[in-house]
Every structure is written in C-alpha cells, then in structure tokens.
Symmetry: C2
Subunit: 215 residues, 2 copies
DNA sequence: GCCTTAGACGGGGTAAACCCTCAATAAATT
DNA sequence: AATTTATTGAGGGTTTACCCCGTCTAAGGC
C-alpha cells in the first residue's frame, strides 16, 4: 500500500484529490497539508509517507524549500511535483533535490494514477513535456558550449529577478543587494542573454510566469 | 434540484469538484467544460443549467467573455466565479455581466456549498473579502471625487496593459495602437496614478496579477 | 607556476522611460 | 450656445535603462 501525503494550499483541490487517490486501490492518503511547515509537523510526528504530492506556490514554506528539506532529512520519501505551470527553472532547481516527477494540474486523473504507479515502480515519472524541456535545456547548453550550471539560475539570479519584478530602480536594487549599479548591470545583461528577453519587463514577466514571486 | 455546469480547464480540479457537488443532495452536475466555447456547445445543445461555476483564466474563451455571453444570451443562468486570485479589476468587469458571486479556489468545500445555496436562494453570494474590495473601491472613488468608471479600467486601459506587459518599447506600442508616443505617455501616467505604481514593471505585475495576460 | 572563468566594478555613451506644461479636437453636459 | 470632459498629442526636460568598452580579484584546472 502506497502511503501518500498531499501538500497544497488550495483546500478544494487538495481534498478532492485526496478522495480521488483514496479511490485507487493501491494508495492510502496518510496526511494532507496546506504548506511545507504543516508537512514537516506531520512527518516529525512520525507519519512518514512513501510519496509526497507537492505543489510549488504556497504560503509559509513553498515547494522548493519543502523538496529540499525532504531531500536532506528524508531522502527515502519520493516527491512528485503537482503544479499549475511548469518551467525550466522549476525543473532544474527541483531535480537537484531529487524529485521523482512533474505533473501539471491540467492533467487527467488517469495520468495522475499512472504517474504515481511509475514513481513507485520505476522510481521516476517524466512526461514527454518534461523530458522535452530537459532536452531543450541540455541542447541549448551544448550549442552554446556552456555547462548546464550556466543555463540554470543561481540563487543570486533568483533573488535578483525578485527585485527586478518590483517598482524599485536598479540603483535601489543595488543598495538592497549591497553591490554597485554596474554589478546590477552585469546580472541584468547576463539574464537578458540567458532568458532571451530584451527588457526589464521581460525579466519581470519571466519571474511571474515561473512562480518566482507570489502572484 | 439545482442543475450545475462546471467550466474550468484544470481537469483534475474540475472533475473532483464535480464529484463533490454531486454529493450535495440539492445539486446535480449536468455538464463540464474546459472553456467557454465548450460551455456554449453544451448550452446550445439545449442543456441549460441553473448555475454555472466559472473559472477566469482559460484557453479559447476566458471567463470574462463567457460571463458576457451568458449575460446577453441566457440571463436566467446564474454565474458563480471560481478563480485562483480575485482582484478589483475582475470584480468590476464581472459585476457588469451580472455574475452572482465570487469564490477563491482556496476556500473550504462547505463554503462552496453555502455559496451555491445562497446564490440559488438569495440570488447572490458575496464574501466579506468581496464586499471589502468593493467597499474599498467605492471609497476610493468617493474620496477622489471621481465616478466609479474613472477607478475601473476601460477596454483601452486593458489593451494597453497587455502591450505594456511585453518586451515592446512605448514607440512600438504606439505603432500597434496607431497613436502617438505622447498619447501612450498619457495612458501610462493615468494608469500610474490610478493603480498606484511608479514604473512600467509595476503595470506589468498588475496585469499579471489580475489575469489580464495568460500567465 | 599559468591559464581560464566568473564575479564585482568603473567610464562613457545612446536610447528609452518618465514627467511636467500646454493645446486642439470632439463628444457630452448643462 | 457655453462649459465641461476625454482623447490625443506637442515641446522640452530629467532620470533610468540599456550596452558597449575596459580592469581587478578570487577560484579552480592542469
């Protein structure tokens, strides 16, 4: 019997999903949480699931931090991401934390069941869409003769993108990060290049679409 | 028996929701659709529901257009908005189309049932949050001695916001709208004032958060 | 040791964004 | 007919954003 925990702040979807998963003979929902902190409490109480279905955008403690925590403290727990919009950024960041698969919320229930089965049987579940995105990413890093680390975003990049998606000027951003305006220029231009946008608005839109800021 | 149609492109939530609603004794789900076009087909086939639970961000035909279509062609059908994020813009636009209530997707199932009951019994359901937003809006229009139309966004504003949330320069935007760059300045400054932001990025963020562009 | 690479910073420049003031037109109000 | 109001847009200005050119330093590969 697969013991599943659901982590999503959208109660309506989460509870309905719990019923759907309970209807699968091979599964049992042993816990539901609105965000990472709640999951932590459940796990630390000794209820350790086999599989965690994890949303990304949540209050308190988001999916990234939750995946990282599970990876370092309970690596035996398999994590399946269930999110609104997928993105290369999410993909790369989460692969580092050993997540076993990615699902968009617009899938059909039978794909959910297939994904759960695959994760428990084969250890992972990557849809065509996911592998496609990964392939594009590695292809890009190969064509431009750059390591994958260059294509993906660092913590600094993400911190920077969060500030860019704000009414602050670059001068103010430089102040917040304790670096010079020229360094800000450098990060910006680097991101222009890698994210293939031409303006600050493009960066902000990218940050929004990739869930880097709470929409 | 209340006949309900569900319109949402997220199959997982929509189908789970259908089961939840079917479990309410007073309700029956007579149709599900992924977007407005599908709902149109259902209705034009003669299956006219009492209540439509409507998402806003959808492909093909979004919630706004769907609400407008229902309002003009089938005003007897009551519309209850079920969306990810609520916003003043959505509120004002949709009130024009006679929608009966607003629900965020992070509510509890019992609030959904209460809302459905209220809409069918009293004709509407406005949560404290909704009425709060409305109050703020009217208060603002009163304080600034402006008609509500001044506080809400025109079609031009929305069209403009969509273009602002793009890599295009204002010169290019002016070209697209067949107006001069100075007029663009005017629209921009007017929106700065009304939306209380200081930069183009602020406008883009606003547009995203209010679902004016597909995220 | 040397070489590359990445990060932080500067000079100096152009284009874009921002922000005033004012004015002509047309539609709506009175 | 007169007044307001909205729309559009011009002149002219400052600030910010964008994008080259560099240098220096620290970290890591061989």
């Amino acid at each position: 019997m697969i013991q599943v925990c659901l982590v999503d702040d959208h109660v309506l979807l989460r509870d309905a999903l719990a019923e759907t998963i309970e209807s699968f003979d091979e599964c049992k929902v042993t816990g539901v949480a609105a965000h990472g902190k709640e999951l932590q409490q459940i796990v630390e109480r000794g209820v350790i699931p086999n599989l965690v279905l994890l949303d990304l955008n949540m209050p308190e403690m988001d999916g990234y931090d939750t995946a990282e925590w599970l990876f370092t403290h309970h690596p035996e727990v398999r994590v399946l991401i269930l999110t609104m919009y997928d993105s290369e950024v999410a993909l790369i960041r989460l692969l580092q934390y050993g997540v076993r698969g990615f699902l968009r919320k617009d899938i059909h229930p039978f794909e959910l069941r297939a994904a759960i089965s695959a994760v428990m049987k084969d250890g992972y579940y990557y849809s065509h869409r996911t592998t496609g995105k990964l392939a594009t990413l590695f292809q890009k890093s190969y064509q431009e003769n750059l390591p994958v680390e260059r294509v993906m975003l660092s913590d600094m990049d993400i911190q920077f993108l969060r500030l860019v998606s704000t009414d602050l000027t670059y001068k103010e951003i430089a102040g917040k990060l304790n670096i010079s305006v020229r360094s800000v220029d450098g990060y910006r231009d680097s991101l222009f290049d890698r994210l293939e946008v031409k303006s600050r608005v493009g960066l902000a839109i990218f940050a929004l679409k990739n869930g880097l800021i709470s929409a």
